[in-house]
């Protein structure tokens, strides 16, 4: 049995209280929500925080709703809730497809959207999905709230712009008509982290040409989990197979995958292209209404 080192434990009653506790315990305190990354790391003693601040009781972070033309996702929304929400599925199939392949139902019942993004694992599925749809992240701190583009949120492996005294509170995703999205992942086994995965978001304009393109890539060393050159290439083009293949090729070239037991570099780069192509193809079919 793996046992963690000793730590203090506090249960936050509100976001304000959580911020107070963060200030009191300092930079060696950690927020715990689902705990699916932090607790195993503590048991392996890879993480030894002085204090855990439990935010699981904060109902104010568990909201999930469409507000005008924005999908608002509280940081404490569980994976299972995102997966079960029909509005999310209607507007953003990419989230449902990503959630279906994140871990297993037990983890999804407890793990949170905000926790996944803040953990900033370089193989995180949701980081790619939110990058593809160009979400904004809202971060609360002692001086009030600030909003950061998700593409500026991650600054490196296991690093985000959330400062030690701050809390990610919600994600805001713009809803636009005429868009389609998809997520495709290769894993060694169900529930595993991705060998590689790609998300795509396409909005078609007049004449069926691509008006907006969003790509998300994970586990392949894509900077900020996206591929801007491939996105730029797609604008103004009809989403035919050759175009989407070329976008995949450009995306693959922009990645810097690392070899590990999930696969060698050439394979992961190949997957980046292949999965980008597959995600784009499905997103395009959804955008033009030929696939649900």
């Amino acid at each position: 049995m793996q046992v963690p080192a000793s730590f203090e434990f506090e249960r936050a009653e509100s976001v304000g209280h959580a911020l107070e506790l963060l200030e009191r315990y300092g930079p060696e305190a950690r927020l715990v929500a689902g705990g699916h990354s932090l607790i195993p790391m503590m048991k392996l003693r890879l993480a030894q925080p002085d204090a855990l601040i439990d935010i699981n009781g904060l109902a104010e972070l568990s909201h999930l709703a469409v507000a005008g033309d924005t999908l608002v996702i509280g940081a404490l929304v569980r994976h299972a809730a995102l997966l079960a929400d029909p509005d999310v599925g209607r507007y953003f199939p990419i989230f449902h497809e990503a959630e279906r392949v994140i871990a297993d139902p037990v983890v999804r019942n407890r793990g949170t959207v905000g926790g996944s993004l803040c953990q900033a694992d370089p193989s995180e599925d949701l980081s790619a999905a939110f990058a593809a749809v160009r979400a904004d992240a809202v971060i609360a701190g002692p001086g009030g709230s600030r909003t950061v583009s998700i593409r500026d949120f991650h600054v490196g492996p296991y690093e985000t712009v959330v400062e030690p005294g701050e809390i990610l509170t919600e994600l805001r995703v713009p809803i636009r008509p005429g868009a389609g999205s998809a997520y495709v992942k290769v894993e060694r086994r169900v529930g595993d982290w991705p060998v590689a995965a790609a998300g795509a978001y396409l909005r078609l304009g007049p004449g069926g040409v691509i008006a907006e393109a969003g790509l998300g890539l994970t586990a392949v060393g894509a900077e900020h989990f996206t591929a801007p050159e491939a996105e730029a290439y797609l604008i103004g083009k009809e989403p035919g197979e050759a175009v989407l293949r070329e976008a995949g090729r450009i995306a693959a070239e922009s990645c810097e995958p690392q070899a590990d037991q999930r696969g060698p570099v050439d394979y992961k780069r190949h997957l980046a292209g292949e999965l980008t192509f597959r995600a784009l193809s499905r997103a395009a079919a959804r955008a033009d209404g030929s696939q649900s």
């Binding site: 290769v186 086994r189 169900v190 529930g191 070899a259 037991q261 999930r262 060698p264 394979y267």
Partner: protein, 789 residues
């Protein structure tokens, strides 16, 4: 499901407690004053230990003892014998020889403090170059791992051969067709859900040592403790409670067990030690790790004439395999498989590497897993060379029923078999011809689909004591049966269930022999104070050996009942006939209705009934069963896969498994064991692996990295059976526990390679992860046992 009077489907008796969460495992043992142990392990694969400073740990307020190699050296316990007559460090004194090796043991008031104190121990290591790639272990100048052994200058453990080299070479020299293939059966781990651990309680007043431990072989453990620690054997009690999976990984004695015992002796209090998941994966017995080259000689029309194999066996840092003494490569020389092959030869070289010891674990039937994989892959390589259908090629070369009993070119005597019938049934169930047609259509569309066949013969139930022993202990099993006055029975056996359902199956054997309900038979096992001696449960030996002992002891009881019945009925014993009717077993005077049931006889046997001279009364009996031969279950497996060539992902679409394990005592339990083994096979073929980087870091030391298959990777198994009873086993049964693990990996791999045939792929090593499959398609296969770079 009603309870049959003997063989048949019935719910498992043990499930009543398991499904209520009321099983009792080692970690459930709580004793007054119990302390907790934790093991400090080496971060290096190979390093000198310059010093071990335990002062800070000893100063921890909740620490009660810190034990090091030096402490154990003072007790002459720093090294212990392995099951292969090698030695293994209990706690390292001179060098560490694999990452995760045991260096020190802390005993504290609670688990947390014990773990905290590990961080207070300061070990000064001087790293050495490790030997990680077994293929370099015998290179000139390779670091010598076992320099503790006097005079040792290399890493060779043994060279061993079987078969007739000259005869095989002669066939190869004039063969029309020969094929050769290198293949690796990678290092895998049984990964039982319950890790290893022990609770040791040494009573200084009585001198009695009680050890609770999830061992598959409690009696062997007791004897070894007696031999190693010098404790008198009658003062040692080993209790193996419910076990959360063993698969061979719980046969041996691990350093942590010895440390817990020493910890209890030193502190005078009970000590519990449970390893965590990473410790289990890093340090306890692995399986396989065979680098093999197979060669087959055949005629152009597909008659296999000879087979040769060279094996480089990676045994890790200590030779700790658990197998009969005469066979350093286990039963690998059964590699001629199920085929009529005139000549065969194998040579096996065992080497030390800087990896954990072990070798025989994970339901391998003493290396038959490796042998079956080798021969079944080679058949497909030959089929590809000849352009032959793999099913037809097998059908042509399988042994025929009239050849049994059959002696193989390497000396095995297969007791019984009807192989073609079994393969044909599997092909019929799968719809083999239709599958081949579908495959052709898909190939034309560029969609890879594969059909893989594996036909295996197992050799289980070790074994005849004149041939088979472990550290000198013969492999016969005892059984003891008591029948109470009211006709209820208690069976005591030496083997130990780890999920196989012995409490049900063995009760059914007694029930069938005595004509009583299995509900009226209690099976006692796993406690050396309560059970007769025997070597335990592994190698699918429980039913072949202890099951036979059970049937024989029940027959003894029945014969004793005959004597008592004859007194009751005032008839000659020879005139009595045994029958099992609806009301159960009874002795009846031939040709009359005069009859006494076994329950009536049991009561009379304990009563004041006057018995003839020489008849003792009571019905209890004991028996020791020394098997005359192994039993040879077999089966035909067919796997169907689809491969996504763009990603390398493999989907196992169907799996047909036809097993012939002789008479089935409880078909439901047999099928459950087959299901588990098939899932194992899918796991090993597609995802499970312990690889090591060049420093010797273990790259699969958690369930995030060491992947076990889930229901989503497994198709709905399609099972079939044929029944060819063992001619020498009292109830015609054969072992089945490992059949599916032995037989299934080759079927999955053969299916994947079959799917990749259009890309010119003839072989790729397990595990066939998406990356491995994609690289095989590119013609650039990866070495799966090393770090991917």
């Amino acid at each position: 499901m009603s309870t049959p009077m003997g063989f048949g489907r019935m719910h498992r008796k043990e499930d009543a407690r398991f499904i209520r969460g009321r099983g009792g495992y080692v970690d459930d043992v709580q004793l007054p004053g119990m302390l907790y142990g934790a093991v400090l392990r080496s971060p290096h694969a190979h390093a000198w230990i310059r010093s071990v400073d335990t002062a800070a740990a000893e100063a921890h307020p909740k620490v009660r003892a810190v034990i090091t190699g030096a402490t154990l050296a003072g007790l002459n316990l720093d090294w212990m014998p392995t099951l292969s007559a090698d030695t293994q460090a209990v706690l390292a004194t001179d060098k560490v020889r694999f990452q995760g090796q045991e260096v020190a043991f802390v005993v504290a008031e609670d688990r947390y403090s014990a773990r905290d104190a590990l961080e207070l121990i300061d070990v000064d290591y001087e790293p050495l170059d490790p030997v990680i790639d077994a293929r370099t272990a015998l290179d000139e100048g390779a670091p010598v791992i076992r320099d503790d052994q006097e005079g040792r200058t290399d890493n060779r453990i043994f060279d061993w051969e079987a078969g007739d080299r000259a005869a095989a070479d002669a066939v190869f020299a004039r063969a029309e067709v020969t094929v050769s293939q290198d293949m690796l059966y990678p290092r895998v781990h049984p990964a039982p859900l319950e890790t290893c651990g022990a609770v040791a309680d040494f009573d200084k007043v009585t001198g009695k040592l009680t050890v609770w431990c999830p061992t598959q072989a409690p009696h062997a453990h007791r004897t070894l403790y007696a031999m190693v620690a010098g404790l008198p054997e009658h003062k040692i009690r080993v209790i193996s409670p419910d076990i959360g999976g063993g698969f061979g990984g719980k046969v041996g004695i691990y350093p942590g067990y010895v440390c817990a015992i020493v910890g209890s002796i030193v502190t005078g209090r009970p000590v519990k030690w449970m390893e965590d998941r990473s410790e289990n994966l890093m340090s306890t017995a692995f399986a396989r790790d065979y680098h093999m080259r197979g060669e087959v000689a055949a005629t152009r029309d597909g008659r296999i004439q000879a087979i040769r194999v060279k094996v480089l066996a990676d045994h890790g840092a200590f030779n700790g395999t658990a197998q009969p003494s005469k066979f350093p490569a286990g039963f690998f020389h059964v590699f001629t498989g199920s085929y009529d092959i005139q000549a065969a030869h194998c040579e096996v070289t065992g080497v030390y590497t800087n990896k954990a010891p072990g070798g025989v674990a994970y339901a391998c039937s003493f290396r038959i897993t490796e042998a079956v994989y080798l021969v079944e892959r080679m058949i497909d390589v030959l089929a590809a060379e000849l352009g032959a259908d793999p099913a037809e090629l097998r059908m042509k070369n399988l042994l025929r029923p009239e050849q049994f009993p059959y002696t193989t070119p390497t000396g095995w005597e297969y007791d019984s078999g009807d192989y073609q019938k079994t393969l044909q049934l599997a092909m019929d169930m799968a719809g083999y011809d239709a599958l081949r047609r579908e495959q052709a259509e898909k190939r034309a569309r560029g969609e890879p689909m594969g059909i893989g066949i594996s036909f295996f013969t197992e050799a289980v139930g070790a074994g005849p004591r004149k041939h088979m022993d472990i550290l000198g202990l013969g492999m016969a099993d005892g059984a003891e049966l008591r029948v109470h006055p009211t006709g209820k029975a208690v069976l005591r056996v030496s083997c130990q269930t780890q999920g196989q359902g012995h409490e049900t199956t063995f009760a059914q054997i007694v029930a069938a022999e005595l004509g009583i309900s299995p509900d009226d038979v209690e099976v006692v096992h796993g406690d050396t104070d309560q059970t007769p001696f025997g070597l335990g449960t592994y190698g699918s030996r429980s039913t072949p050996v202890s099951g036979a002992a059970t049937a024989m002891v029940a027959r003894k009881v029945r014969e004793r009942a005959r004597q008592v019945a004859s007194a009751m009925l005032e008839a000659s014993p020879q005139d009595l006939e045994w029958s099992v009717g609806e009301s159960g077993g009874a002795w009846t005077v031939a040709g009359t209705g005069a009859s006494r049931t076994i329950q009536e006889i049991a009561l009379a046997a304990h009563s004041n009934l006057e018995l003839p001279d020489g008849v003792e009364g009571h019905l209890d009996a004991t028996c020791v069963y020394n098997p005359p031969n192994l039993t040879y279950p077999f089966g035909a497996y067919i796997c169907v896969v689809d491969v996504d060539p763009g990603t390398g992902q493999v989907k196992v679409r169907r799996f047909v498994a036809v097993d012939d394990c002789g008479n089935r005592i409880n078909p439901m339990i047999v099928e459950g064991q087959v299901h588990g083994g098939l899932a194992d096979g899918v796991g090993m073929a597609l995802m499970q692996l312990m690889a090591f980087d060049e420093e010797g870091n273990h790259l699969g030391a958690s369930f995030m990295d060491y992947l076990l298959p889930t229901a989503l990777e497994c198709p709905s198994w399609e099972l079939g059976e044929t029944v060819t009873p063992s001619p020498h086993h009292p109830i015609g049964a054969k072992g089945v526990g490992e059949s599916a693990t032995v037989g299934s990996p080759a079927a999955v791999v053969n299916a994947v390679i079959d799917a990749l045939a259009p890309y010119g792929v003839r072989h790729a090593d397990m595990p066939l992860t998406p990356a491995a499959v994609w690289r095989a398609i590119q013609g650039d296969p990866i070495r799966t046992d090393l770090a991917i770079t």
